[in-house]
Symmetry: none
Subunit: 397 residues, 2 copies
């Protein structure tokens, strides 16, 4: 359902709290991290509000951060895509402009015959890789084109070309295997021919510049992508939206949707403070809490529980801001047993003064199974939040 | 899933009872109206049958009566539309014919400069408005076109043009704001040019006829619409279908789907009597109970509870008719706290001798959350009812 024709204004504030990788699964030994965490304030929210479970992309699908967040923002992750280049740029706070061509690069090792020996240059450490990237930024020159190399982590590099008339519709130079030479970037459409030639030029210059390096002596490029204009929150929902996030990736995703990205917070208290200061200026706040996911990815169950309890402690501060609709959920599950993202449904609690109640009085995966929101696609939350905020007109006569 | 290829005949009777605006929400003070009503017969149905919650249009979407009923009849409300003109006609028991062009009209007040001063002519009372409408019916003459003016309520008028070659694809003359003159109806397609000219002629004649009126001195038109051929119950489901409703709107919707609209009942007992008399002649009965919604819209919680109890009292009579599949639900929620339609899921109970059982023994929103039907789109009910009636063949070999 396209919500835009139904949007109406209302003097209400909506807040979405994303506990990254929140969900987990119970096993024979213990409950989920959320179930075992002490969360009196989230439990009170569950008691007074409605709960449920959401699936970010689809049943059985393990979401990346991009699709996970798109779902929470009401964008069907199957319909809207954040390309790898765009996400890499977002993750580095690099502002892609219309017409830019971005790609994910791998520093790699070629043998003496130009055959790929290692696609990740021996997982080159950050400091060495950063030096190589600086060398590339200084040395590579393309006629009439601005080139940006930005180091991400280990062997990973963001490469951006900026000029008029570029076209990102190219095949990868990264064959995603060893034992063969890097591929040429082939234009998928005639308009991309010139860009393909520039990519070949760039790849050759990189090999010349790095010929003395023991490990990182070439670059493999994949996921050529351009700046995508996603319909923003203002246009789609009529909301003045703000994001308060610590990590660049989530700041970047929010920026791609036209949210204002507020401040440079270093911790949750600063995040709350930033929202308090900007409270009057926005209709929608996105608060991102990363540490649930980091701990889950590390397989560190006690630390994930602590990160959940840390968020719980600020819930009273959030409610005191005067929020009308408050939802707390996650962009995907990251069970500490798996030390990775997973497909398990993510618990959600939603509170407003007209949300209704269910019989659930604690916030946890198994309790949420009995919740009033049922099990549903994550993208449906946005409509329910807007409805609770009085921001959707009646459909049909 | 298109059910039509699977339809088979069976000697079974289906009944759908629609308690208009049935759903509500619990808050910290009390349960929902349905939860607090004393409903021994509906509870027995829930005990012996299966329950659940349904969303008429989609999550978070507040349905109008048209989409709400289409969903209950198994028509996806996003795919099938009842235009405002068609619904207005339905609401007045005015039978639109193929080729007719219908619009919703507002009697309005123009100032001396032809600027809209009041879009509703001071919410002119019914008797005065009816006189004005009669004056228009007598006075307006369009070359080669039959024109119908029908008073609805207060300032609201149905306007229908009847002739060959008309085309409803026009923009509104109602700008939906004051301080500017009425708009011209613009043809959206070349074929609608002549109809636009007739609308201009009509608007001018109305102004001339009403120039002496203090308040209602012009008409604003919106929602130009034509008779839509919706696939009917016979064609789609192989059902001989009958509607027993008091209010014109619901009689009209049923008629648009090819149901026979039986009698002119004044109350529930008469509705039951009409069904009893016609029992042998139909496979499917639609019983519409309006007063739950009227009370909800008035914010009158005790009256909504009483309206629910009133329906509960006739459930034994309904079962005694010998119904094979009985479903009771609503076209949308109308929580008395909001005094308006809402998006909250609507409880449903379904009984047949092969429907199965769940653990739910009372009919109420929170009980239904644990029901065997789960939370699902309203439109899915029709297939489940047909299946319980033995009217759907196996799919595939």
């Amino acid at each position: 359902m396209d919500l835009t024709p139904l949007i109406q204004d209302a003097p209400t504030k909506i807040m979405l709290v994303v506990m990254d990788g929140l969900g987990g699964y119970a096993d024979r030994l213990s409950g989920t991290e959320l179930e075992e965490a002490s969360t009196p304030h989230l439990d009170a929210l569950a008691d007074h509000g409605v709960t449920g479970l959401v699936e970010p992309v689809g049943p059985g699908i393990t979401p990346g951060s991009g699709p996970g967040h798109l779902g929470l923002f009401g964008y069907d992750p199957e319909q809207f895509e954040l390309g790898r280049g765009a996400l890499s740029a977002a993750g580095l706070d690099f502002e892609l402009r219309p017409g830019d061509v971005a790609a994910r690069g791998n520093l790699c090792t070629l043998d003496d015959d130009g055959i790929i020996a290692d696609r990740r240059a021996g997982r080159i450490p950050d400091d060495k890789a950063a030096a190589v990237v600086a060398q590339l930024q200084d040395g590579v020159r393309l006629e009439g084109i601005e080139v940006f190399f930005r180091h991400e982590r280990e062997h990973r590099v963001l490469v951006v070309l900026r000029a008029d008339g570029l076209d990102a519709r190219l095949t990868d130079t990264d064959p995603q295997r060893t034992g063969i030479p890097p591929l040429d970037a082939q234009p998928l459409f005639p308009d991309a021919k010139r860009t393909a030639e520039h990519v070949a030029d760039l790849s050759n210059q990189v090999r010349a510049l790095l010929s003395g390096q023991p490990k990182a002596n070439a670059i493999l490029l994949r996921g050529f992508d351009t700046h995508r204009e996603l319909p923003g929150f203002a246009e789609r929902y009529g909301l003045r939206a703000a994001a308060v996030a610590i990590y660049p990736m989530y700041r970047g995703i929010a920026r791609l949707l036209g949210m204002d990205v507020l401040g440079r917070p270093a911790n949750l208290d600063e995040q709350v403070g930033i929202m308090r200061d900007a409270w009057a200026d926005y209709d929608y706040f996105f608060l991102h809490h990363k540490y649930t996911d980091s701990a889950g990815e590390d397989g560190d169950r006690p630390r994930k529980i602590a990160a959940i309890e840390q968020l719980d402690a600020v819930v009273p501060d959030l409610r005191e801001l005067g929020v009308d609709v408050l939802a707390v959920s996650g962009d995907h599950s990251t069970p500490s047993q798996m030390a990775a993202h997973s497909w398990h449904p993510v618990p959600v609690v939603l509170w407003s003064d007209r949300c209704g109640r269910d019989d659930v009085t604690t916030f946890g995966e198994r309790a949420c199974l009995r919740g009033g929101l049922g099990i549903r696609p994550t993208k449906d939350l946005m409509a329910i939040m807007l409805a609770n905020a009085g921001r959707l007109q009646k459909y049909g006569a």
